[in-house]
């Protein structure tokens, strides 16, 4: 494979493609709402009309507005239909030729679409994730070629470092610095791991990216491997994501067949092999040392750092671990240059962030917004407020490691530092909207229950602390708590934050601490009041 062959594939693909196309969202959410049946019906209608040769029906990845799915888009016109049913097939086909059509369609001028800035999601919902040709036709694997033939590993690292990209898994560690550490750490072999163990409840960014554009992640991993000097990569995917695993498997086979992964990529001396490792249901495996233990076939228990995986990781070798979204940013940065990337976002947080907007919100779905956008803009403009107009009370970011941000702080810009300053974290991108009917003590208890069930049991503060905290919150909710129990809760939170072994335990108290900070009255109201939970 060389550049000419790559371009020949792209040209052939574009030449063969019919002018009229119907794109059906076939991501997990829309599939569950019957997207595949809609696709079948569209094909039936087209074949009955003898138009199968002129119109192509293609399954694509996530179009974003998951709550209004299943979604169908017609091209070149661009209309996106929502809440489509199989019965709508005939009207959609008629709409292709400007015929009458009463199927609900999305307002593409709505802020949900106009306020977004897709970089990571730029191909999502536009290409067929199961065909590598589709990815090559939109320019795929060109960056990898350029990197291997025109740049040294040090130059690649410099570009990533200059771009200001920070880890999208939540903590925001500078990506360029991490790559440089791995590159400089001595080791017989090195590894690149893509962390796709998206465990935060309420988050599905990584799933959507893997289901919609798997090659973008693979290309990013290959570039990282070239930069740090690794020849073997692993993608650690949650077992709960069968569709993502299936599409990744297909993508890896296709890329290997074309010589874009495997030995001597683009006829150079660079080799890179990628294998999938399927998680088995343990939230703590999102923590990098636990993830490594799991790939090594052991109990997913974290170990103290240092040494960091960048120095001693998988099988004791220098290992680069980045999140799906981080890898998905790589090709765009190299294509457009670090200066372009630096223009987007804020002083310390560059680029965009993908969020899964869920909960009591009208426009549930996947969004990608520039860093620095305010929570207000996300909730009220992009999300369009709550479905029934009930006032929004808070937004939860960062999952079990994050916090609840009250409505009065919605002018907070979304960047790593600002979110930390208000007691939450950026996290991997889950954003759950809560309205006036949501009880914040219940929310805190929900997250602590989660951490209690997911605690690996290795260190005492997290193993026993989560249980004690959960029992205290239960007591509180049932109106059996004493005023001193609130002090005990706060004391336990501090102990866990300061002394737990890994990030899971250290951040587990965040949902309690942030709700205590902003909604303390809800806690105090419950002290000494018997509550009836019968209804």
């Amino acid at each position: 494979m060389d550049l000419h062959e790559l371009e020949a594939i792209a040209e052939r693909e574009q030449a063969q493609r019919p002018h009229l196309r119907i794109l059906c969202c076939a991501a997990a959410g829309c599939q569950a709402s019957g997207a595949l049946e809609i696709k079948r019906r569209l094909e039936l209608v087209l074949s009955a009309a003898g138009k199968l040769a002129e119109v192509e029906v293609t399954p694509v990845g996530c179009m974003g507005l998951c709550g209004h799915g299943p979604l169908v888009r017609i091209e070149p016109e661009g209309t996106v239909f929502e809440r489509v049913t199989p019965a709508d097939a005939e009207e959609i086909v008629s709409a292709l030729e400007q015929g009458p059509c009463n199927v609900l369609h999305c307002d593409l001028n709505h802020p949900f679409f106009t306020r977004q800035q897709p970089i990571v999601l730029r191909h999502c919902g536009r290409i067929n994730p199961e065909r590598i040709e589709d990815y090559i036709a939109v320019g795929g694997y060109r960056t990898l070629y350029h990197v291997i033939h025109d740049l040294t590993p040090a130059e690649v690292i410099q570009i990533i470092a200059r771009s200001g990209l920070r880890g999208r898994g939540g903590a925001g560690y500078p990506t360029g610095l991490k790559w440089a550490t791995v590159a400089k750490s001595p080791g017989e072999r090195k590894f690149v791991i893509c962390n796709a163990d998206e465990g935060d409840p309420g988050a599905f960014m990584d799933r959507s990216v893997l289901e919609s554009d798997p090659h973008l992640v693979l290309e990013g991993m290959a570039i990282a491997a070239y930069a740090v000097g690794a020849e073997q990569g692993f993608i650690y995917v949650r077992g709960e994501y069968p569709l993502a695993i299936e599409r990744l498997q297909k993508a890896i086979v296709q890329a290997r067949r074309l010589g874009l992964l495997g030995a001597q990529i683009f006829e150079s001396g660079f080799n890179f092999r990628v294998d999938i490792r399927v998680g088995a249901g343990a939230f703590v495996c999102g923590e990098e040392t636990a993830l490594i233990a799991s790939i090594e076939g052991r109990r997913g228990q974290p170990r103290p750092r240092p040494p960091y995986p960048a120095e001693k990781g998988l099988w004791g070798m220098p290992t680069l671990i980045n999140n799906v979204e981080t890898f998905a940013n790589v090709t765009a940065i190299i294509e457009n240059g670090p200066e372009w990337f630096r223009q987007i976002g804020t002083e310390k947080s560059k680029g965009t962030k993908v969020f899964a907007l869920t909960g009591k919100i009208r426009n549930t779905g996947l969004i990608e917004v520039p860093m620095g956008i305010t929570l207000r803009e996300i909730v009220y403009e992009i999300g369009d407020g709550t479905p029934d107009g009930t006032p929004v009370k808070a937004v939860q970011t960062g999952g079990p490691s994050g916090g609840c941000i009250p409505a009065e702080l919605f002018d907070t810009p979304v960047d790593y530092e600002s979110l930390a300053a208000v007691g939450s974290i950026m996290g991997s991108g889950g954003m759950v909207v809560m309205d006036e009917h949501t009880n914040m003590v219940d929310v805190a208890r929900f997250y602590i229950e989660f951490c209690k069930d997911e605690s690996c049991g290795k260190c005492i503060p997290c193993r026993v602390g989560t249980v004690q905290l959960f029992n205290l919150l239960t007591k509180l909710r049932n109106g059996q708590a004493q005023p001193r129990d609130l002090d005990t809760i706060e004391e336990l939170c501090e102990l866990m934050r300061e002394t737990s072994l890994c990030g899971l335990g250290q951040s587990a108290p965040n949902p309690v601490l942030s709700t205590l900070q902003y909604f303390r009255h809800e806690y105090e109201q419950l002290i000494g009041v018997e509550v009836d939970h019968g209804s």
Binding site: A28, E198, G281, Q396
Partner: protein, 173 residues
């Protein structure tokens, strides 16, 4: 020594299936060169083939991968995916992720428990139905989400679900 012919005949009827599963599992272990590192991948395969991980199966895996039995047992019980007891013929998994929780998944689960008489995480006494929970299926866009025998159902509603479960169990009333 009474009816040896019948015994062999029955054996023939039963064996091919189990032998085949064993062969597939063996092939999986061979693909990983019997490396201990592959334990989780092998357990995934074993559970997919047999439905659950019996002590015999775990011992066999330990022996083939040359791992201490306690390590295999320790790993199998660490991860939620692995089940050491048989699951019901049909299963219903209620997602308890945040988005589903905010949209009432806890009530849904409670109602299902009451209606089916099976506690979350358990299987009915006749072994026909398991009620399970999951920590976010990543289908938050269609919350609350439920998986019924592998099929994801979005915007789940209790009466519709109960009807479907009754139908699966062949108890249409």
């Amino acid at each position: 020594m009474t009816t040896p012919t019948t015994d062999i005949a029955t054996d023939r009827n039963v064996r091919p299936v189990s032998d085949n599963r064993r062969k597939i599992l063996e092939a999986t272990m061979k693909r990983f060169q019997y490396q201990g590192d592959a334990l989780i991948e092998v357990l995934h395969k074993a559970q997919e083939l047999y439905g659950f991980l019996s002590p015999e199966l775990l011992s066999e895996v330990a022996q083939r991968l040359r791992l201490p039995p306690s390590r295999v047992y320790g790993v199998a019980t660490f991860y939620h995916f692995f089940s050491l007891v048989p699951q019901g013929e049909h299963s219903c998994t209620v997602c308890l992720g945040t988005a589903c929780y905010v949209r009432g998944a806890a009530h849904l689960l409670h109602d299902l428990e009451t209606l089916s008489g099976v506690k979350a995480g358990h299987t009915s006494s006749d072994g026909r139905f398991s009620l399970l929970t999951a920590r976010c299926l990543g289908a938050c866009g269609i919350a609350p989400a439920v998986v019924l025998d592998g099929e994801v159902i979005g915007h789940a509603d209790c009466s519709d679900l109960t009807a479907r479960i009754q139908k699966l169990l062949g108890r249409e009333e």
